[in-house]
Protein backbone atom coordinates (compact mmCIF):
# COMPACT_ATOMS: atom_id res chain seq x y z
CA UNK A 1 0.00 0.00 0.00
CA UNK A 2 1.44 3.40 -0.99
CA UNK A 3 2.04 5.81 1.88
CA UNK A 4 0.02 8.97 1.42
CA UNK A 5 0.69 10.56 4.78
CA UNK A 6 1.25 14.29 5.01
CA UNK A 7 5.02 13.75 5.13
CA UNK A 8 5.12 12.46 1.55
CA UNK A 9 2.99 15.35 0.23
CA UNK A 10 5.35 17.53 -1.85
CA UNK A 11 4.90 20.77 0.03
CA UNK A 12 5.95 19.34 3.39
CA UNK A 13 8.21 16.47 2.28
CA UNK A 14 11.65 18.05 2.86
CA UNK A 15 12.92 21.30 4.33
CA UNK A 16 14.92 23.66 2.08
CA UNK A 17 15.30 23.51 -1.72
CA UNK A 18 12.69 22.50 -4.29
CA UNK A 19 10.94 19.17 -4.33
CA UNK A 20 10.87 17.76 -7.86
CA UNK A 21 8.23 15.14 -7.10
CA UNK A 22 5.69 16.68 -9.45
CA UNK A 23 8.11 16.52 -12.39
CA UNK A 24 6.80 13.22 -13.82
CA UNK A 25 3.22 14.39 -13.49
CA UNK A 26 4.05 17.68 -15.26
CA UNK A 27 5.76 15.83 -18.12
CA UNK A 28 2.73 13.54 -18.57
CA UNK A 29 0.38 16.55 -18.56
CA UNK A 30 2.34 18.49 -21.16
CA UNK A 31 2.64 15.40 -23.38
CA UNK A 32 -1.16 15.25 -23.27
CA UNK A 33 -1.32 18.81 -24.50
CA UNK A 34 -1.77 20.85 -21.31
CA UNK A 35 -0.29 24.30 -21.92
CA UNK A 36 2.62 25.14 -19.64
CA UNK A 37 2.07 28.69 -18.27
CA UNK A 38 4.80 31.12 -19.32
CA UNK A 39 6.69 32.87 -16.56
CA UNK A 40 6.63 36.67 -16.79
CA UNK A 41 10.25 37.63 -17.40
CA UNK A 42 11.60 41.10 -17.17
CA UNK A 43 13.65 41.05 -20.42
CA UNK A 44 15.53 43.95 -18.97
CA UNK A 45 18.46 46.23 -18.87
CA UNK A 46 19.79 46.91 -15.36
CA UNK A 47 23.02 48.67 -14.40
CA UNK A 48 24.98 49.80 -11.36
CA UNK A 49 27.87 52.24 -11.08
CA UNK A 50 30.12 53.21 -8.16
CA UNK A 51 30.99 56.90 -8.23
CA UNK A 52 32.96 59.24 -5.97
CA UNK A 53 30.33 59.56 -3.23
CA UNK A 54 28.14 56.48 -3.60
CA UNK A 55 26.31 54.15 -5.95
CA UNK A 56 23.88 54.81 -8.81
CA UNK A 57 21.50 52.06 -9.89
CA UNK A 58 19.47 52.12 -13.10
CA UNK A 59 16.80 50.01 -14.79
CA UNK A 60 14.37 50.02 -17.70
CA UNK A 61 10.61 49.48 -17.05
CA UNK A 62 9.42 46.80 -19.50
CA UNK A 63 8.13 43.40 -18.33
CA UNK A 64 7.62 40.75 -21.04
CA UNK A 65 5.64 37.51 -21.35
CA UNK A 66 7.32 35.95 -24.38
CA UNK A 67 6.84 38.45 -27.23
CA UNK A 68 4.16 40.47 -25.41
CA UNK A 69 4.80 43.49 -23.21
CA UNK A 70 3.02 42.59 -19.98
CA UNK A 71 3.83 45.81 -18.08
CA UNK A 72 4.98 49.05 -19.73
CA UNK A 73 6.13 50.70 -16.52
CA UNK A 74 7.11 48.15 -13.89
CA UNK A 75 9.58 48.85 -11.05
CA UNK A 76 12.75 46.81 -11.17
CA UNK A 77 14.74 48.59 -8.46
CA UNK A 78 13.71 46.95 -5.19
CA UNK A 79 14.12 48.25 -1.62
CA UNK A 80 16.32 46.02 0.51
CA UNK A 81 17.24 48.29 3.43
CA UNK A 82 17.37 52.07 4.07
CA UNK A 83 20.93 52.02 2.72
CA UNK A 84 20.58 49.35 -0.01
CA UNK A 85 18.60 48.77 -3.18
CA UNK A 86 18.64 45.87 -5.62
CA UNK A 87 17.87 45.77 -9.37
CA UNK A 88 16.39 42.50 -10.62
CA UNK A 89 16.44 40.81 -14.02
CA UNK A 90 15.13 37.38 -15.04
CA UNK A 91 11.86 35.88 -13.80
CA UNK A 92 9.81 38.77 -12.37
CA UNK A 93 8.19 36.79 -9.54
CA UNK A 94 11.57 35.38 -8.49
CA UNK A 95 13.24 38.80 -8.29
CA UNK A 96 10.28 40.29 -6.43
CA UNK A 97 9.93 37.54 -3.83
CA UNK A 98 13.66 37.00 -3.36
CA UNK A 99 14.35 40.68 -2.69
CA UNK A 100 11.33 40.91 -0.35
CA UNK A 101 12.47 37.84 1.59
CA UNK A 102 16.03 39.06 2.07
CA UNK A 103 14.78 42.56 2.93
CA UNK A 104 12.60 41.05 5.64
CA UNK A 105 15.43 38.85 6.97
CA UNK A 106 17.71 41.89 7.03
CA UNK A 107 15.22 43.97 9.00
CA UNK A 108 15.04 41.30 11.68
CA UNK A 109 18.85 41.12 11.66
CA UNK A 110 19.01 44.89 12.05
CA UNK A 111 16.68 44.81 15.03
CA UNK A 112 18.68 41.99 16.62
CA UNK A 113 22.10 43.66 16.11
CA UNK A 114 21.01 47.29 16.58
CA UNK A 115 23.27 48.31 13.65
CA UNK A 116 22.97 49.50 10.07
CA UNK A 117 22.95 46.48 7.74
CA UNK A 118 26.01 45.81 5.58
CA UNK A 119 25.80 45.26 1.84
CA UNK A 120 27.89 42.08 2.11
CA UNK A 121 25.26 40.66 4.50
CA UNK A 122 22.47 41.11 1.92
CA UNK A 123 24.78 39.71 -0.75
CA UNK A 124 25.58 36.64 1.36
CA UNK A 125 21.89 36.01 2.19
CA UNK A 126 20.98 36.31 -1.50
CA UNK A 127 23.77 34.10 -2.83
CA UNK A 128 23.24 31.38 -0.25
CA UNK A 129 19.54 31.21 -1.10
CA UNK A 130 20.10 31.21 -4.85
CA UNK A 131 22.78 28.51 -4.64
CA UNK A 132 20.52 26.34 -2.51
CA UNK A 133 17.96 26.39 -5.34
CA UNK A 134 20.63 25.51 -7.92
CA UNK A 135 19.63 28.21 -10.43
CA UNK A 136 15.92 27.28 -10.42
CA UNK A 137 15.14 30.67 -8.86
CA UNK A 138 15.71 32.80 -11.96
CA UNK A 139 16.90 35.99 -10.26
CA UNK A 140 19.84 37.95 -11.70
CA UNK A 141 20.46 40.86 -9.35
CA UNK A 142 22.51 44.02 -9.07
CA UNK A 143 22.86 44.97 -5.41
CA UNK A 144 24.16 48.39 -4.47
CA UNK A 145 24.42 50.28 -1.20
CA UNK A 146 26.49 52.31 1.26
CA UNK A 147 27.63 51.12 4.68
CA UNK A 148 30.59 51.46 7.08
CA UNK A 149 32.88 49.99 4.39
CA UNK A 150 31.79 52.65 1.88
CA UNK A 151 29.81 52.38 -1.36
CA UNK A 152 29.64 48.82 -2.70
CA UNK A 153 28.23 47.18 -5.83
CA UNK A 154 27.67 43.48 -6.50
CA UNK A 155 26.18 41.47 -9.30
CA UNK A 156 24.55 38.16 -8.31
CA UNK A 157 23.76 35.43 -10.84
CA UNK A 158 20.89 32.89 -10.58
CA UNK A 159 23.24 30.05 -9.61
CA UNK A 160 24.67 32.06 -6.72
CA UNK A 161 27.97 33.48 -8.02
CA UNK A 162 28.81 37.09 -7.19
CA UNK A 163 31.11 39.71 -8.65
CA UNK A 164 32.32 42.83 -6.89
CA UNK A 165 32.93 45.52 -9.49
CA UNK A 166 32.86 49.30 -10.02
CA UNK A 167 30.30 48.94 -12.84
CA UNK A 168 27.95 46.09 -13.76
CA UNK A 169 25.09 45.35 -16.16
CA UNK A 170 22.60 42.44 -16.26
CA UNK A 171 19.62 41.31 -18.32
CA UNK A 172 19.01 40.88 -22.07
CA UNK A 173 20.11 44.48 -22.65
CA UNK A 174 23.32 44.04 -20.65
CA UNK A 175 25.61 44.03 -23.71
CA UNK A 176 24.12 47.24 -25.07
CA UNK A 177 24.48 48.87 -21.64
CA UNK A 178 27.98 47.46 -21.05
CA UNK A 179 29.20 48.90 -24.36
CA UNK A 180 28.28 52.37 -23.04
CA UNK A 181 29.94 51.61 -19.69
CA UNK A 182 33.18 50.45 -21.32
CA UNK A 183 33.22 53.52 -23.54
CA UNK A 184 32.46 56.12 -20.89
CA UNK A 185 33.09 54.95 -17.30
CA UNK A 186 35.94 56.56 -15.37
CA UNK A 187 36.86 56.16 -11.69
CA UNK A 188 35.63 58.78 -9.15
CA UNK A 189 32.90 60.36 -11.27
CA UNK A 190 30.74 63.19 -9.96
CA UNK A 191 27.07 62.54 -9.17
CA UNK A 192 25.49 63.96 -12.33
CA UNK A 193 28.11 62.32 -14.57
CA UNK A 194 27.32 58.98 -12.96
CA UNK A 195 23.58 59.53 -13.42
CA UNK A 196 24.13 60.51 -17.07
CA UNK A 197 26.23 57.38 -17.63
CA UNK A 198 23.50 55.18 -16.12
CA UNK A 199 20.81 56.97 -18.13
CA UNK A 200 22.74 56.48 -21.39
CA UNK A 201 23.46 52.84 -20.60
CA UNK A 202 19.78 52.08 -19.92
CA UNK A 203 18.72 53.99 -23.05
CA UNK A 204 21.14 51.85 -25.11
CA UNK A 205 19.26 48.82 -23.77
CA UNK A 206 15.81 50.37 -24.29
CA UNK A 207 16.46 51.26 -27.93
CA UNK A 208 18.64 48.35 -29.03
CA UNK A 209 17.23 45.40 -27.06
CA UNK A 210 13.72 44.15 -27.74
CA UNK A 211 13.38 42.77 -24.22
CA UNK A 212 13.84 46.26 -22.72
CA UNK A 213 11.83 49.40 -23.24
CA UNK A 214 9.78 52.34 -21.98
CA UNK A 215 11.35 54.45 -19.23
CA UNK A 216 14.56 54.87 -17.21
CA UNK A 217 14.44 54.47 -13.42
CA UNK A 218 17.41 55.74 -11.39
CA UNK A 219 18.25 55.37 -7.70
CA UNK A 220 21.20 57.19 -6.09
CA UNK A 221 22.53 55.85 -2.78
CA UNK A 222 25.00 57.82 -0.64
CA UNK A 223 26.01 57.65 3.04
CA UNK A 224 23.64 60.60 3.59
CA UNK A 225 20.58 58.90 2.10
CA UNK A 226 18.79 57.62 -0.95
CA UNK A 227 17.23 59.43 -3.93
CA UNK A 228 14.65 57.32 -5.71
CA UNK A 229 14.27 58.90 -9.15
CA UNK A 230 11.39 56.84 -10.50
CA UNK A 231 10.88 57.50 -14.24
CA UNK A 232 14.00 59.70 -14.33
CA UNK A 233 13.63 59.73 -18.14
CA UNK A 234 10.57 58.95 -20.27
CA UNK A 235 11.88 58.81 -23.85
CA UNK A 236 8.92 56.71 -25.11
CA UNK A 237 5.87 58.77 -24.34
CA UNK A 238 2.83 57.95 -26.38
CA UNK A 239 2.14 60.44 -29.18
CA UNK A 240 -0.77 62.83 -28.77
CA UNK A 241 -3.58 62.21 -31.22
CA UNK A 242 -3.48 65.11 -33.66
CA UNK A 243 -6.97 65.32 -35.13
CA UNK A 244 -10.57 64.89 -34.09
CA UNK A 245 -11.85 61.78 -35.79
CA UNK A 246 -15.46 61.82 -34.57
CA UNK A 247 -18.15 62.00 -37.19
CA UNK A 248 -20.47 64.96 -36.74
CA UNK A 249 -24.18 64.29 -36.43
CA UNK A 250 -25.69 64.50 -39.88
CA UNK A 251 -22.69 62.94 -41.67
CA UNK A 252 -24.91 59.99 -42.41
CA UNK A 253 -28.20 61.31 -43.68
CA UNK A 254 -31.26 60.10 -41.74
CA UNK A 255 -34.01 59.10 -44.17
CA UNK A 256 -36.74 57.86 -41.78
CA UNK A 257 -37.05 57.69 -38.01
CA UNK A 258 -39.25 55.27 -36.10
CA UNK A 259 -39.33 55.19 -32.28
CA UNK A 260 -40.97 52.37 -30.39
CA UNK A 261 -41.42 52.43 -26.62
CA UNK A 262 -40.43 49.09 -25.16
CA UNK A 263 -41.26 50.03 -21.63
CA UNK A 264 -44.67 51.33 -20.61
CA UNK A 265 -44.34 53.30 -17.38
CA UNK A 266 -47.44 52.64 -15.27
CA UNK A 267 -46.28 54.18 -12.00
CA UNK A 268 -43.09 55.99 -10.96
CA UNK A 269 -39.99 57.06 -12.93
CA UNK A 270 -38.89 55.18 -16.09
CA UNK A 271 -35.31 54.94 -14.72
CA UNK A 272 -36.26 53.53 -11.33
CA UNK A 273 -35.01 50.02 -10.70
CA UNK A 274 -37.15 48.93 -7.78
Amino acid sequence: MATTSIDSFPATARPGGFSFELHTRNQVLSSRGAAVPRATKTGTTIVGVVYKHGVVLGADTRATEGPIVADKNCEKIHYIAPNMYCCGAGTAADTEFTTNLISSQLELHRLATGRQARVVTAMTLLKQMLFKYQGQVGAALILGGCDVEGPQLFSIHPHGSTDKLPYVTMGSGSLAAMSIMEAKWTPDMERQDAIDLVDNAIRAGIFNDLGSGSNVDVTVITPEGVDVLRNYATPNERGVREGVYDYARGTTKVLTESIRSLVEVVDGDAMEVE
Binding site: V120, M123, T124, K127, E149, F154, S161, T162, D163, K164, L165, P166, L175, A176, M178, S179, I180, E182, A183, P187, A204, F207, N208
Partner: protein
Protein backbone atom coordinates in the same frame (compact mmCIF):
# COMPACT_ATOMS: atom_id res chain seq x y z
CA UNK B 1 27.97 17.08 -51.64
CA UNK B 2 25.68 19.25 -49.52
CA UNK B 3 26.74 19.43 -45.89
CA UNK B 4 24.24 21.80 -44.30
CA UNK B 5 24.98 20.92 -40.73
CA UNK B 6 28.67 21.69 -40.72
CA UNK B 7 30.01 24.29 -38.32
CA UNK B 8 32.66 26.89 -39.09
CA UNK B 9 36.26 25.98 -38.16
CA UNK B 10 38.55 29.00 -38.68
CA UNK B 11 36.56 32.11 -37.93
CA UNK B 12 36.73 35.88 -37.86
CA UNK B 13 34.69 37.90 -35.37
CA UNK B 14 32.85 41.22 -35.79
CA UNK B 15 33.06 43.65 -38.70
CA UNK B 16 31.96 47.24 -37.99
CA UNK B 17 31.34 50.02 -40.48
CA UNK B 18 29.77 53.45 -40.75
CA UNK B 19 28.90 56.09 -43.33
CA UNK B 20 30.54 59.46 -42.91
CA UNK B 21 30.69 62.72 -44.83
CA UNK B 22 33.09 61.63 -47.59
CA UNK B 23 32.27 57.93 -47.84
CA UNK B 24 32.56 54.76 -45.75
CA UNK B 25 34.81 53.56 -42.93
CA UNK B 26 35.11 49.93 -41.91
CA UNK B 27 37.15 48.16 -39.22
CA UNK B 28 38.08 44.56 -38.40
CA UNK B 29 40.62 42.92 -36.13
CA UNK B 30 43.42 40.73 -37.48
CA UNK B 31 42.43 37.48 -35.76
CA UNK B 32 41.43 34.12 -37.24
CA UNK B 33 40.25 31.95 -34.35
CA UNK B 34 40.35 28.15 -34.30
CA UNK B 35 37.56 27.64 -31.79
CA UNK B 36 38.92 29.16 -28.61
CA UNK B 37 42.51 29.23 -29.92
CA UNK B 38 43.76 32.59 -31.23
CA UNK B 39 45.48 30.84 -34.12
CA UNK B 40 46.31 33.36 -36.85
CA UNK B 41 47.04 36.90 -35.70
CA UNK B 42 47.88 38.72 -38.93
CA UNK B 43 44.81 38.07 -41.06
CA UNK B 44 43.23 40.70 -43.32
CA UNK B 45 39.47 40.38 -43.17
CA UNK B 46 38.76 43.29 -45.52
CA UNK B 47 39.49 43.30 -49.25
CA UNK B 48 39.08 46.04 -51.89
CA UNK B 49 36.92 45.22 -54.91
CA UNK B 50 37.77 47.67 -57.68
CA UNK B 51 38.38 51.33 -56.85
CA UNK B 52 35.04 51.97 -55.18
CA UNK B 53 34.24 49.12 -52.80
CA UNK B 54 35.48 47.39 -49.65
CA UNK B 55 34.19 43.99 -48.53
CA UNK B 56 34.71 42.79 -44.96
CA UNK B 57 33.94 39.28 -43.70
CA UNK B 58 33.17 37.56 -40.42
CA UNK B 59 32.61 33.82 -40.06
CA UNK B 60 34.39 30.97 -41.86
CA UNK B 61 37.53 32.41 -43.46
CA UNK B 62 37.99 29.60 -46.00
CA UNK B 63 34.59 30.60 -47.45
CA UNK B 64 35.81 34.21 -47.54
CA UNK B 65 38.90 33.09 -49.48
CA UNK B 66 36.60 31.41 -51.99
CA UNK B 67 34.48 34.56 -52.28
CA UNK B 68 37.61 36.67 -52.84
CA UNK B 69 38.44 34.47 -55.83
CA UNK B 70 34.90 34.82 -57.15
CA UNK B 71 35.01 38.61 -56.76
CA UNK B 72 38.39 38.71 -58.55
CA UNK B 73 36.89 36.74 -61.50
CA UNK B 74 33.90 39.06 -61.51
CA UNK B 75 36.11 42.16 -61.73
CA UNK B 76 38.25 40.62 -64.48
CA UNK B 77 35.17 39.74 -66.56
CA UNK B 78 33.83 43.26 -66.10
CA UNK B 79 37.20 44.73 -67.14
CA UNK B 80 37.37 42.55 -70.22
CA UNK B 81 33.92 43.61 -71.40
CA UNK B 82 35.38 47.11 -72.01
CA UNK B 83 31.92 48.65 -71.94
CA UNK B 84 32.89 51.86 -70.16
CA UNK B 85 31.31 50.69 -66.88
CA UNK B 86 32.97 49.60 -63.65
CA UNK B 87 31.24 47.76 -60.84
CA UNK B 88 30.34 49.89 -57.84
CA UNK B 89 29.43 48.98 -54.26
CA UNK B 90 25.75 48.45 -55.05
CA UNK B 91 26.68 46.00 -57.82
CA UNK B 92 29.07 44.04 -55.60
CA UNK B 93 26.37 43.95 -52.90
CA UNK B 94 23.77 42.58 -55.31
CA UNK B 95 26.24 39.99 -56.63
CA UNK B 96 27.12 38.75 -53.13
CA UNK B 97 23.43 38.66 -52.21
CA UNK B 98 22.70 36.38 -55.17
CA UNK B 99 25.67 34.11 -54.45
CA UNK B 100 24.81 33.77 -50.73
CA UNK B 101 21.11 33.16 -51.35
CA UNK B 102 21.83 30.63 -54.12
CA UNK B 103 24.11 28.65 -51.78
CA UNK B 104 21.46 28.86 -49.02
CA UNK B 105 18.83 27.50 -51.42
CA UNK B 106 21.03 24.46 -52.09
CA UNK B 107 21.56 24.05 -48.29
CA UNK B 108 25.33 24.43 -48.85
CA UNK B 109 26.04 27.67 -47.05
CA UNK B 110 28.97 30.02 -47.26
CA UNK B 111 29.26 30.59 -43.52
CA UNK B 112 29.88 34.33 -43.52
CA UNK B 113 28.35 37.67 -42.76
CA UNK B 114 29.76 40.07 -45.33
CA UNK B 115 29.83 43.86 -45.09
CA UNK B 116 29.93 45.79 -48.36
CA UNK B 117 30.65 49.50 -48.42
CA UNK B 118 31.84 52.15 -50.84
CA UNK B 119 31.21 55.32 -52.78
CA UNK B 120 30.75 55.83 -56.51
CA UNK B 121 29.86 59.13 -58.18
CA UNK B 122 29.08 60.65 -54.80
CA UNK B 123 26.62 57.87 -53.91
CA UNK B 124 27.64 56.30 -50.58
CA UNK B 125 26.48 52.74 -49.88
CA UNK B 126 26.80 50.44 -46.87
CA UNK B 127 25.12 47.07 -46.35
CA UNK B 128 25.56 43.50 -45.16
CA UNK B 129 24.64 40.02 -46.46
CA UNK B 130 24.57 36.95 -44.27
CA UNK B 131 24.87 33.20 -44.83
CA UNK B 132 21.10 32.90 -45.42
CA UNK B 133 21.10 35.65 -48.01
CA UNK B 134 19.41 38.17 -45.68
CA UNK B 135 20.40 41.70 -46.65
CA UNK B 136 20.38 44.88 -44.60
CA UNK B 137 21.49 48.35 -45.55
CA UNK B 138 22.00 51.21 -43.09
CA UNK B 139 24.41 54.00 -42.15
CA UNK B 140 25.86 51.78 -39.40
CA UNK B 141 26.60 48.05 -39.71
CA UNK B 142 28.04 45.61 -37.19
CA UNK B 143 28.23 41.81 -37.40
CA UNK B 144 28.64 39.12 -34.77
CA UNK B 145 29.13 40.44 -31.23
CA UNK B 146 29.40 43.88 -32.76
CA UNK B 147 25.62 43.79 -33.26
CA UNK B 148 25.18 43.75 -29.48
CA UNK B 149 28.20 45.76 -28.32
CA UNK B 150 29.07 48.14 -31.16
CA UNK B 151 25.72 48.94 -32.82
CA UNK B 152 24.28 50.88 -29.82
CA UNK B 153 27.31 53.18 -29.83
CA UNK B 154 27.45 53.48 -33.63
CA UNK B 155 23.75 54.32 -33.92
CA UNK B 156 23.95 56.99 -31.27
CA UNK B 157 27.07 58.56 -32.77
CA UNK B 158 26.15 58.39 -36.46
CA UNK B 159 22.39 58.35 -37.00
CA UNK B 160 21.32 61.71 -38.39
CA UNK B 161 24.91 62.93 -38.80
CA UNK B 162 26.08 60.94 -41.84
CA UNK B 163 26.52 64.08 -43.91
CA UNK B 164 28.46 66.13 -41.36
CA UNK B 165 30.61 63.50 -39.66
CA UNK B 166 34.24 64.11 -40.66
CA UNK B 167 37.01 61.53 -41.12
CA UNK B 168 38.73 62.18 -37.79
CA UNK B 169 35.47 61.80 -35.83
CA UNK B 170 34.53 58.67 -37.76
CA UNK B 171 37.95 57.21 -36.95
CA UNK B 172 37.52 58.03 -33.26
CA UNK B 173 34.11 56.30 -33.18
CA UNK B 174 35.48 53.14 -34.79
CA UNK B 175 38.48 53.08 -32.43
CA UNK B 176 36.17 53.41 -29.43
CA UNK B 177 33.91 50.65 -30.68
CA UNK B 178 36.83 48.27 -31.46
CA UNK B 179 38.16 48.90 -27.94
CA UNK B 180 34.81 47.95 -26.39
CA UNK B 181 34.83 44.79 -28.54
CA UNK B 182 38.33 43.90 -27.38
CA UNK B 183 37.17 44.29 -23.73
CA UNK B 184 34.02 42.22 -24.06
CA UNK B 185 34.34 39.78 -27.02
CA UNK B 186 36.38 36.81 -25.89
CA UNK B 187 37.32 35.96 -29.51
CA UNK B 188 38.82 39.33 -30.44
CA UNK B 189 42.33 40.75 -30.67
CA UNK B 190 43.81 44.15 -29.95
CA UNK B 191 45.28 44.47 -33.43
CA UNK B 192 42.99 46.17 -35.89
CA UNK B 193 42.79 47.62 -39.36
CA UNK B 194 40.59 50.46 -40.52
CA UNK B 195 39.60 51.04 -44.17
CA UNK B 196 38.54 54.39 -45.56
CA UNK B 197 36.66 54.53 -48.87
CA UNK B 198 36.20 57.96 -50.38
CA UNK B 199 36.34 59.62 -53.82
CA UNK B 200 40.12 59.05 -53.95
CA UNK B 201 39.71 55.29 -53.56
CA UNK B 202 40.12 52.51 -51.00
CA UNK B 203 42.80 52.82 -48.28
CA UNK B 204 43.36 49.95 -45.84
CA UNK B 205 45.48 51.03 -42.88
CA UNK B 206 48.41 49.05 -41.52
CA UNK B 207 47.49 47.01 -38.41
CA UNK B 208 47.68 48.91 -35.10
CA UNK B 209 46.76 48.47 -31.41
CA UNK B 210 44.38 50.44 -29.22
CA UNK B 211 45.31 51.75 -25.75
CA UNK B 212 43.39 49.91 -23.01
CA UNK B 213 42.80 50.64 -19.30
CA UNK B 214 43.25 47.95 -16.65
CA UNK B 215 44.14 50.10 -13.62
CA UNK B 216 40.61 49.76 -12.20
CA UNK B 217 41.46 46.17 -11.29
CA UNK B 218 44.01 47.26 -8.66
CA UNK B 219 41.18 48.18 -6.30
CA UNK B 220 39.26 44.92 -6.64
CA UNK B 221 39.83 42.14 -4.12
CA UNK B 222 37.79 38.94 -4.23
CA UNK B 223 34.26 38.55 -5.49
CA UNK B 224 32.17 39.21 -2.41
CA UNK B 225 32.89 39.40 1.27
CA UNK B 226 36.69 39.10 1.13
CA UNK B 227 38.02 41.56 3.74
CA UNK B 228 40.18 44.36 2.35
CA UNK B 229 43.78 43.99 3.50
Amino acid sequence: MTLFDRSPIVTGTSVVALKYKDGIMMATDCLASYGSLARFRDVERMVPVGEHTIVGASGELSDFDYLKEQLESLMIDEYESQDGHTLGPRNVYEYLHRVMYARRSKMNFLWNTLVVGGIKNGDRFLGCVDMKGVTYSSSTIATGYGAYLAQPILRKAVEGREDTLDEASARRILDQVMKVLFYRDARSLNKIQVTTVNASGVTISAPYSLPTEWAFAENIRGYGATPAQ
